[in-house]
């Protein structure tokens, strides 16, 4: 099931001023297999496959970091708050345990 993995949607508020604390919402499609599930037909275990590290960069600077495990649901959705004090790109990087890296950049533009 390589299809439909790593599609990303990041949402920011439409309008905000410099210095405002804004919510950033990010969604990524990923199966997040726990490694405990069995294939119903063959009876074999489905190997674990999940996102382990999430890094958020704001203008090149690492601002937050998350470590996820199997407890996080499939297609994880996250929200965090950001103080929009500069006009800079916001980059979110997801890394899964097979070493695949998914990333997306949005521009933070305080008005």
């Amino acid at each position: 099931m390589a299809k439909g993995i790593g599609k990303i949607k990041i949402r920011t508020p439409r309008r905000y001023k410099k210095g405002d604390v804004i919510p950033i919402k990010a969604l990524i499609t990923h199966p997040m297999e726990t490694g405990f599930r069995k294939d119903k037909k063959t009876g074999k275990r489905i190997p674990a496959y999940y996102i382990s590290d999430v890094n958020v960069f704001y203008g090149g600077e690492l601002i937050t970091q998350m470590q996820w495990t199997i407890a996080v649901s499939a297609n994880p959705f996250m929200t965090f708050y950001l103080k929009a004090d500069k006009d800079a790109p916001l980059k979110i990087v997801w890394k899964d345990i097979k070493g695949k890296v998914f990333e997306k950049t949005v521009q933070i533009k305080p008005q």
């Binding site: 299809k3 439909g4 599609k7 949607k9 949402r11 919402k25 499609t29 297609n75 959705f77 929200t79």
Partner: protein
Amino acid sequence: MFKKAFKVFICLAILLLPLLFSKMARAGDEIKEYEPNCTYEEYEKTYLDFYGSSTQEMAEEGNPADLMLDDGEELFKTVAGTRGKSCASCHGENGEKLKGVAARYPKYDPAIKGINTIAYQINRCRVEKMGAKPLKYESYDQLALTLYVKSLSNGMPINVSIDGPARPFYEKGKKFYYTRMGQWNFSCALCHVKYACKRVRTNLMSPNRHHADHWPSYRLKWGKAGSLQRRFRGCMKNMRAKPLPYQSEEYRNLELYLTYQANGLPLEVPGMRM
């Protein structure tokens, strides 16, 4: 003399008994419709009290099935099969010619002498017009393509016709809806018409008005998108009946019946449900 008359009477009675039973059996074939237990507005109110608005908020924040639309659009433009055609080569570069079409489906198709659904038609198109392999039902590609084709008519009111040749199939679908089946002897109508707004253990039963206007939908229980027919199969498993294969005649008729219940509502794909 009296004895003879009695014998004749008994004979006649024995002869006529099967007739009587057959008449009773025919009366049993007629659908006994239920009165809906509640209106949709009442249901929405009960739903909010019961589950809260968390699913709705989640859907507003981002539906994972939205991300399938790009894949669907790509597939729409991909050339496949022996004739060097893609969906886009007949239906317009961005599917202009398909706008509003999905709102009229499922509909009667004389070529198959039955009811045609979008997913079924996509596979027919692929086999007959493009010379390509049919897509497996409920596979990622199949759902993405169906989602894209349906999304072209998003917001348009559903307008399914049950006149003329579609009428007998509508009746069949309705009969299926009201047929008791499975170990628990349930019918679709029992939960979704007669006992709508009541609780079945931890579930709240919904009336059937909005059942067919948002598929393929992302369902939290499945963790991915699925079609209305996958939901039918799930429902039939819950009733402990044997689920039927995808796009079987019964399911296509049932889809027509349910979509007719949603007539006039805007089509909203992809939906997001619990």
